[in-house]
């Protein structure tokens, strides 16, 4: 056989065919483009702002705002700064998002389970709810609640009156506000003791069950402890709680807690809309648990309640959590629709009034976007941690 010298190394490709050279080249071009684009934008923006006489920087946050806000969780009046309006808007956004997430989860789970009910009427009703609500724009639903339902409620003088304590009219819902007096610390202490006792009880009951197989009625005993201990503490401290009752003063109510109609409309619409999506997620999650699991639980003699709690729900949660997270994120983002009906959330107060008064669009928009980015990232972080906790544990 003719021996030939074979070059073991293949000829290196021409540099413009070399994938590594190409990839470096493209990335350098991409960076150059981004920098050039960014620089052009900044340059344009600066020259535009100069020609329009708009100042730059975050100094405006310390200036006096000079406008009123109809609802604030942190103390606020018109003499405070623009920086304060940011906090007012942010807390209002967080409030309605949190309220919406809680309500949407509860309604969504109920509807989702009802959708799978063996009762034909209930299942069909849940289906109708889901198909109607999720195919109608959220903004329209907010308008419906605000302009069509809540504004047609009676005026303050003809309010709907529940037991002389809760009043409903077109200015909002008024409920008594609990005011803690001296000595309420004892009640807090009693609540803490009760929680600690129930936690201890659970650990003990589980140990006992593992050792002897006897099931201790943890839920009933725990509930009793949670009610009785704080109640005793409350009585021992001499009932340190008074109620600030809403009262008709002139043309409007004073005292108590007011839920303004803007908040109520936004809350209803957000919860009902998101619930229709959550219901479908819950349904698909429950359906994803294979029939063998329920049958195995039945074969072991578990009652249906325990089957649901110990077998079906833990497995369904794995399927439910990831899409549920994105629904929570959607709800938090959709709460910005508040601006359409004048609920003072971050977008309405900060990106609306503050931006209009100061004209500092770049700073305000950047801050607002950063806030939503933070909210989104934190919700997905929390849900990811929870997801890891319920995820399948493989050996």
């Amino acid at each position: 056989m003719n021996k030939q010298a074979i070059d073991s190394k293949p000829a290196s490709p021409k540099p413009w065919y070399d994938p590594r050279v190409r990839s470096v080249f493209f990335q350098v071009v991409a960076i150059a483009l981004v920098f050039w684009g960014g620089w052009t934008l900044i340059d344009n923006t600066l020259s535009n702002m100069e020609s329009r006489g708009i100042s730059t920087g975050f100094g405006f946050l310390d200036e006096t705002a000079g406008f009123g806000i109809i609802m604030s969780m942190v103390p606020y009046d018109a003499t405070m700064s623009y920086g304060r309006t940011f906090w007012v808007g942010l807390t209002n956004t967080l409030l309605v998002s949190a309220m919406g997430i809680v309500a949407a989860t509860i309604i969504g789970f109920i509807i989702g389970v009802a959708r799978l009910s063996s009762n034909w009427l209930v299942a069909k009703l849940a289906l109708v709810y889901i198909e109607v609500i999720r195919n109608i724009p959220l903004l329209l639903q907010i308008f419906f609640w605000y302009f069509a339902v809540l504004s047609s409620l009676p005026s303050p003088r003809q309010s709907v009156d529940v037991a002389g304590a809760v009043f409903l009219n077109n200015r909002g819902l008024y409920v008594p506000e609990p005011l803690t007096q001296d000595g309420f610390g004892l009640v807090w202490a009693a609540i803490a003791v009760a929680i600690a006792a129930v936690t201890g009880l659970r650990i003990w009951a589980k140990k006992r069950q593992l050792a002897t197989g006897d099931i201790f009625p943890t839920f009933r005993v725990g509930l009793a402890i949670l009610i009785i201990v704080p109640a005793l503490g409350y009585l021992a401290a001499g009932s340190p709680l008074t109620w600030d009752m809403p009262e008709l003063k002139g043309f409007n109510f004073g005292g108590g807690i007011t839920i303004i109609p803007e908040l109520a409309a936004l809350w209803f619409a957000l919860s009902l809309y998101t619930a229709s999506f959550i219901a479908e997620i819950v349904r698909s999650g429950i359906l994803s648990v294979s029939k063998g699991q329920t049958e195995a639980a039945k074969a072991l003699g578990l009652p249906s309640g325990l089957t649901l709690r110990l077998v079906v729900i833990p497995q369904a949660m794995r399927v439910i959590i990831p899409p549920l997270t994105s629904q929570y994120l959607n709800l938090a983002k959709n709460s910005s629709l508040a601006t359409a009906i004048g609920y003072p959330d971050l977008v309405a107060v900060f990106m609306g009034t503050t931006l209009n008064q100061t004209g500092q669009a770049v700073e305000v928009v950047a801050i607002t976007m950063a806030v939503y980015l933070t909210i989104s990232l934190s919700i997905s972080l929390v849900m990811n941690i929870y997801n890891r906790a319920v995820a399948i544990k493989e050996r």
Binding site: N44, L140, L355, L377
Partner: protein, 361 residues
């Protein structure tokens, strides 16, 4: 043993047995049925009375409305405004023509046996925007110019949703490819772009487009309000589109990439001829679903002062000539959206079942 070829016995559909099984299977279920049934009957009665039986359909002025039922005159009298906005009456045929073309390209997609429906769909995605570009604003072929400030109603809603999807599709494809790229810097840029846009609400994007875009552009260059909204919607939507398409790209089995490599195809040939055709076909239902949510989200443009269908209705329900017609207006808009969204979502569910190739695990 031979398998029995006998069919299972037919279950006689006996209404009493059916009710017993589905409505009154236990005392608990019976109670639930009675309670829920009572609620349905007591609320459906007044609802239908208001919607149809005592509603006013005929007449031409506000005082013709009975007052006890819905006043549908309000809708029929203002229908032109709700569909075309301020588009001049004598030019509305142009919009009608586009509506017709749109129906011609997309309705066949719902009919399975329609001959050449693929080509109609392709025209809808590529030719339709070109025709629309000439027809609606005018200024060509002797068509009179109609300013974009005069566009409104259902027509504007469709334009926003349609252009938003068409324009975000190519950007979304590029972003999705970039996110799966092996070049770390390109991937990083795409990830940041996608995640930032997905994290912020559409309203902030629209606000940004309407107040900040003019600042970004060099002096003398400016866009109309509608154009700015469209730019904002497109950028925002392309991030969502990218995620949908990425799902399709990830569902393509590895063997396809390797086979393309083995054939010696370069990146763009591999992507364009092997990967994308399969991936895009797989994500059609996902694209349709993002279209539905974008369609609903276009209502937000009324916040920056554009008159989409909700905007036109919202601006007329406060008209003092008509008393308390807010609910009628909202029901009308809700019905329009519901018909579109429900129809399209049913279509996408159908498609999902048909396109299920079993690739996804």
């Amino acid at each position: 043993m031979a398998e029995s070829t006998m069919k299972p016995p037919k279950i006689a559909i006996d209404p009493v047995a059916w009710m017993r099984q589905n409505l009154f299977s236990s005392w608990y279920n019976s109670l639930l049925t009675v309670f829920v049934g009572y609620l349905v009957i007591t609320s459906a009665g007044p609802l239908f009375t208001w919607l149809f039986f005592e509603a006013t359909f005929l007449g031409d002025k506000p005082s013709d409305c009975s007052g006890t039922g819905a006043c549908w005159l309000f809708i029929s009298e203002r229908l032109n405004f709700f569909i075309y906005g301020f588009f001049p009456q004598e030019h509305q045929w142009r919009v009608d023509f586009m509506f017709g073309l749109m129906a011609l390209s997309f309705v066949p997609q719902f009919i399975e046996r329609f001959p050449g429906r693929k080509w109609f769909g392709l025209f809808g995605l590529t030719g339709l925007p070109v025709v629309g570009y000439f027809m609606i604003p005018g200024g060509w072929f002797g068509l009179e110019v109609v300013e974009s400030t005069k566009w409104g109603g259902l027509m504007l809603t469709l334009i926003l949703a349609y252009i938003g999807i068409i324009a975000s599709l190519p950007i979304g494809i590029l972003l999705a490819l970039g996110r799966r790229s092996e070049m770390p810097i390109i991937r990083g840029l795409c990830v940041v772009f996608i995640e930032v846009w997905r994290a912020v609400p559409l309203i902030t994007v629209l606000f940004m487009a309407s107040v900040m875009l003019p600042l970004f552009l060099p002096e003398g260059v400016n866009f109309e309000k509608l154009m700015r909204a469209l730019i904002g919607i497109t950028l925002w939507q392309s991030a969502y589109m990218a995620e949908v398409i990425r799902g399709g790209l990830q569902a393509i089995p590895r063997g396809q990439y390797e086979a393309a490599d083995a054939l010696g195809l370069g990146y763009w040939k591999k992507t364009g001829l092997i990967i994308l055709p399969q991936a895009l076909k797989m994500v059609i239902p996902g694209i349709v679903n993002t279209f539905i949510s974008l369609f609903k989200d276009t209502t937000l443009v009324l916040i920056i002062g554009l008159f989409d269908i909700l905007g036109t209705v919202q601006s007329t329900v406060t008209d003092p000539a008509w008393q308390n017609v807010a609910i009628e207006g909202y029901v009308f808009v809700a019905f329009c959206f519901w018909v579109f969204c429900f129809g399209i979502s049913r279509y996408s569910q159908n498609l999902e079942r048909k396109l299920d190739t079993g690739h996804k695990t």
